[in-house]
């Protein structure tokens, strides 16, 4: 039990660090970012449990926002909703389909993360968003980013197989 909590704490800290490193990178669109922090949610989901993935997603957004000084700001809400919906969907898919691969989980997570962030923008700031355009672009961005994240997770899982 203690080992599980320690692993979770380390994953939350690492995911928050990755989110902080990612945050100053320039973005062409508000939702466009590599999403490396999502790798550790996926790792927690596969290595520990579906709940582990959700816990990492929730706590890493809180921790990263606290350190970045954006806690409870619109940026935090976007980040939180995106990470939570992504972790929930990945957990649901993982539980529902036994043969689902990490690549499918990761790409789905990346896509739902972007979509929910766009939905937050629509609800909070702007009524007029061309969803069709954003969905088309999001899919093109989510596939390579989700695939890279899945490869990172596969490598992490391989290296920590007997840990």
């Amino acid at each position: 039990m203690l080992k599980k909590y320690t692993t979770l704490a380390m994953l939350v800290a690492s995911a928050a660090a990755l989110q902080i490193i990612e945050s100053p990178l320039p973005r062409f669109l508000p939702w466009l970012k590599p999403g490396l922090a999502n790798a550790l949610s996926l790792y927690a989901l596969v290595k520990l449990s579906a709940a582990g993935g959700v816990i990492v997603a929730i706590f890493r957004t809180f921790l990263a926002s606290l350190l970045l000084g954006t806690l409870f700001s619109p940026v935090f809400i976007m980040s939180f909703v995106g990470a939570l919906s992504s972790a929930l969907l990945m957990g649901l898919l993982y539980k529902a389909f036994s043969k689902v691969t990490n690549e499918i989980l990761s790409i789905s997570g990346a896509l739902i993360n972007n979509l929910s962030q766009l939905a937050v923008i629509q609800i909070m700031f702007a009524e007029n968003i061309n969803f069709m355009f954003h969905i088309a672009i999001m899919i093109w961005v989510s596939i390579p980013s989700g695939y890279i994240v899945a490869k990172i997770v596969n490598e992490l899982l391989r290296r920590t197989a007997d840990a």
């Binding site: 691969t101 690549e103 766009l118």
Partner: protein, 115 residues
């Protein structure tokens, strides 16, 4: 690459292509509202691409072509400035004497990209 992953990616790319097609289609079909001040009413582009409205002076004929350009074909106004404007796209057409305002609507404006 595993077969499952490939099928999943191809499905997503198909959805992306369909979404882009609908986006492209909506971008190319400029929307206009035709306001008739005399009637205090707003009309939209009919399927026949020809709209006849009665203004202060009489009937104006508004037509659309296949390139989504709009023009005032006939007008009872004395100077016929609105008719001489010819076909326009994405700019307003106004006939002051007959009280007709043809405005491009801003349905395609995207608040995120500003395009």
């Amino acid at each position: 690459m595993q077969k499952n992953n490939l099928i999943f990616i191809i499905t997503l790319l198909t959805i992306s292509a369909v979404a882009y097609y609908f986006h492209f289609k909506s971008q190319n079909s400029a929307q206009y509202e035709v306001r008739v001040l005399a009637l205090n009413k707003t009309f939209f582009r009919p399927s026949s691409n020809r709209l006849v409205v009665k203004g202060y002076l009489g009937e104006s004929v508004i037509t659309w072509n296949n390139n989504d350009e709009v023009r005032i074909e006939k007008s009872p106004c004395p100077n016929q400035n609105c008719v001489r404007m010819g076909s326009c796209k994405n700019i307003p057409l106004i006939c002051v004497p007959n009280g007709i305002i043809i405005n491009p609507t801003v349905q395609n404006f995207d608040a995120v990209t500003g395009q």
